[in-house]
């Protein structure tokens, strides 16, 4: 069992968790992920590793379904049933020149280790983050500290540019910015839009695909994506891929494979009751 050392909801739906697992903490490189299970009946879900320190590692988790919901309802001191990692290939970290980093949702946290590592290699870092509204922005100070330029975009215009990462990016390029490399992390829709912006300018683009995963070590093929016409497994060949080669339409459809099941899951919601049981009776029944 793996202890949650610290847990905090940074902004609505985004939780920062620090988990104790020495193997992951020792070996994780930027761009790798872990597979988590909240309890024996939960699913196996991938989470990007953001930071490591001594024998713990940090993730930023977006609550968007029943399994992330279970974890969101846990608190520090509780144990996760399974943590396996570090999995996946590390991100490409080299000296390129000027690197553009774009992050949305949980991607704002996930690009932090990439920014840090790329900065250490001597790159000039331009970071753009997006959120629905100003109250959904987090990790701003840490990101500013490793970026040479930093921009914010919101869907409702409450802060920064009214729009998304690609709105700012388009403007920067048209104003004469030149980029030697770009990395985007966020929801599939956002990564697709950003890749489409960099494509005509031939900026080498890498995206971190967040496919559905099951085992995480290449034995099932659940996470397969078409990249450049070939089948790749996101868990062993990725999760970082060339954004201009990814078959986005197919990926979007594959991510929708379990929509109905996701809805059915909510009809039995014992996980919420744990929070209730503890708040009233001071300890869990289970």
């Amino acid at each position: 069992m793996y202890e949650i050392v610290e847990k905090r909801e940074e902004v609505p739906n985004i939780h920062r968790l620090i988990i104790r697992e020495p193997n992951v903490a020792k070996k994780a490189k930027p761009g790798q992920f872990v597979i988590l299970m909240p309890d024996e009946k939960g699913e196996r879900i991938p989470m990007s590793i953001v930071e490591t320190k001594k024998d713990t590692f940090t993730i930023f988790m977006l609550e968007l379904g029943i399994t992330t919901g279970k974890i969101a309802n846990m608190h520090a001191g509780e144990q996760l049933y399974a943590v396996a990692g570090p999995l996946g290939r590390p991100a490409e970290i080299e000296y390129y020149g000027t690197v553009l980093l774009g992050g949305g949702c949980y991607g704002i946290g996930a690009i932090y280790p990439l920014a840090k590592a790329l900065k250490a290699k001597g790159n000039r870092i331009v970071t753009i983050i997006e959120a629905r509204s100003k109250y959904l922005i987090y990790l701003e100070e840490k990101l500013r500290a490793v970026s040479d330029e930093f921009y914010i975009a919101t869907s409702d215009g409450s802060r920064g540019t009214n729009g998304h990462v690609q709105t700012v990016l388009d403007r920067l390029i048209k104003n004469g910015h030149r980029f030697d490399h770009a990395k985007f992390i966020g929801c599939t829709y956002m990564m697709m839009n950003c890749s489409n912006i960099t494509a005509p300018y031939r900026i080498p683009t890498r995206v971190a695909l967040n496919t559905i995963m099951l085992d995480g070590s290449g034995m099932c093929g659940c996470c397969r994506v078409s990249v450049g016409g070939k089948i790749k497994f996101a868990c062993v060949d990725g999760p970082e891929f060339d954004g201009h080669q990814v078959d986005w339409a197919e990926l979007m459809k594959r991510k929708a494979a379990y929509q109905e099941a996701e809805m059915i899951s909510y009809q039995t919601s014992p996980h919420i009751c744990r929070a209730l049981i503890e708040s009233y009776f001071g300890e869990s029944d289970e």
Partner: protein, 522 residues
């Protein structure tokens, strides 16, 4: 006579302008008005101009007067309406409604994100049914000129059954009105004032600490996703809506149930019956779907071999049961008839007993004390019962139930019964005989209680017990003048057949545990 937008409509005494407009198919947008609730005039979206009166008036609170000439939709009203709606939206997580990418995003994204906190329409369970979104579409809404303000109120999840996110609340007051003026419970009120106004309970107590009955009426009338039933959201449109009568006690309340994926997903009061006014209790409203969808329903007939209960089909089990019953004299056989049998099932069981000359018919736990006195060897029960292992004379137990409740581990033969939501029939209640409707299919091989008796009767070659449907049974009952009875099950009875409802519904367990020192739990 009135003239609304140039159309002549008849005047009706005592009605508001809005009611008359609606009756004559003239559309005026509203958010806080509701046909079951007294008007309130909170949202001001229904602004109209009455000619000859300065300023604008609410259609929902203004009584109509004969001869009024009304304009509902001129340029000035349109501008006002927009501004009002922008004000409402500026304090509601509205990013998705005004995002430039909204249509494109909807096309590509794989459905609603089932987030914990609602930060936009794409994370809201109410998205497909939302009245605010409907108005936004009607007004062709694309921008908000006012600064956006997210109230950052904590999400209230510390009550059983439903969540409250008052960041989405538009203060229409429907929940307050239904709680105070329809239910008469007075749990929800407007608290604080001015910009800090928030709907909630007095002193911000969790509902479980108040006298809230958990009737769910507030959730039914809320136009946004602010109030949502935890286990009954995210299913979008139901496949079917069926109305039936509750059999969890003898009151006979009427329900309307939403069905999706072959399961009951939501329950609310039947809109055409008086239970809409009196409300339905927490057992039916919130516990019923979770209870009957629990995973350990008995689904197959089973027989005991090698210390294990093996599943088999009805033909095999029929011969097992017939052998058992033929091996013993009727004086050594007893039937336990649960109060939760439909009238038809009860009648068929008793007729079967008569034909088999079985006189030991038990209906209460006290009756079980007869077992040692009469040396009963075979007990056929339709309900899980306590203490069966203490009866040393019992050699065989036929267990006909919905769940593996008390006594299951002692069974030789297990017969899967259908729940009341899975069959047709009648149930004689305090409100008289009420119809039971089949809402969903029974799981796998589970059958109506009366059908099971008929199958066994067939194996025993008993004539007169091969009904095709409940109508046949009802007709026979009419012919023989069978007296139906109201069963002694009151509204605070906490089991269905042999299973405590709290065992399958964790939120209900919490409710009972927390309120155990009160005279009544709701």
């Amino acid at each position: 006579m009135l003239v609304i937008d140039g159309k002549k409509v008849p005047f009706v005494e005592g009605k508001t302008i809005l009611e008359i407009a609606r009756e004559n198919n003239i559309h005026i947008p509203t958010l806080c008005a509701h046909e079951r609730l007294p008007s309130f005039g909170a949202c001001r979206l229904c602004m109209i101009k009455v000619h000859g009166v300065p300023g604008f008036m609410n259609a929902c609170t203004t009584p109509a007067k004969d001869g009024m000439v009304i304009t509902t939709n001129n340029l000035e009203i349109k501008k006002l309406r927009r501004a009002i709606f922008e004000l409402i939206l500026s304090e509601h997580p509205s990013s998705c409604m005004i995002c430039a990418q909204a249509e494109h995003c909807d096309k590509f994204n794989s459905g609603i994100m089932k987030a914990g906190v609602i930060t936009g329409c794409n994370t809201c369970p109410n998205k497909d049914m939302c009245e605010v979104r409907a108005i936004a579409e009607e007004l062709n809404f694309k921008t908000i000129r006012f600064p956006i303000f997210y109230k950052e109120l904590p999400i209230e999840r510390n009550d059983p059954f439903f969540d409250r996110d008052y960041n989405l609340c538009i203060h229409c007051g429907r929940c307050v009105r239904v709680c105070q003026q329809v239910e008469g419970a007075h749990i929800l009120v407007f608290t604080k004032r001015g910009h800090d106004t928030k709907i909630g309970t007095s002193f911000e107590k969790p509902h479980i600490e108040t006298d809230c009955k958990f009737c769910g009426q507030c959730i039914d009338v809320c136009p946004t996703g602010a109030l949502s039933a935890r286990g009954q959201k995210w299913y979008q449109e139901p496949d079917d809506r069926v109305r039936t009568t509750c059999m969890l006690c003898n009151k006979g309340c009427r329900f309307e149930m939403d069905v999706k994926w072959g399961r009951i997903v939501a329950v609310r009061p039947d809109p055409d019956y008086k239970t809409l006014k009196t409300g339905i209790c927490v057992k039916g409203r919130f516990c019923l779907p979770t209870f009957f969808n629990a995973v350990d329903r008995i689904r197959f007939p089973r027989f005991l071999q090698n210390f294990k209960l093996y599943p088999t089909n009805w033909d095999e089990i029929g011969s097992h049961v017939a052998e058992l019953l033929e091996a013993y004299p009727p004086s050594k056989i007893a039937l336990y008839l649960t109060n939760f049998l439909t009238d038809e099932s009860d009648y068929v069981f008793r007729k079967f007993a008569e034909m088999m000359e079985i006189t030991n018919i038990y209906t209460t736990v006290e009756d079980l004390t007869q077992i040692p006195k009469k040396g009963i060897k075979v007990l056929w029960t339709t309900e899980g019962l306590p203490g069966l292992k203490n009866y040393k004379t019992l050699e065989h137990l036929i267990f006909q139930e919905v769940f593996p409740s008390e006594g299951y581990e002692l069974a030789d033969v297990v017969l899967p019964a259908a729940a009341f939501t899975e069959q047709f029939g009648t149930y004689y209640t305090q409100r008289g005989p009420m119809p039971i409707q089949k809402v969903v299919k029974a799981p796998d091989l589970a059958l109506e209680d009366w059908k099971i008796v008929c199958k066994i009767a067939q194996e025993l070659d008993l004539g007169g017990l091969n009904y095709l449907d409940v109508d046949e049974i009802e007709q026979e009952m009419g012919r023989v003048n069978y007296k139906q009875m109201v069963r002694p099950v009151d509204e605070y009875y906490l089991k269905y057949r042999g299973t405590p409802i709290a065992e399958k519904v964790p939120d209900f367990k919490i409710l009972l545990e927390y309120r155990k020192n009160r005279a009544k739990p709701w």
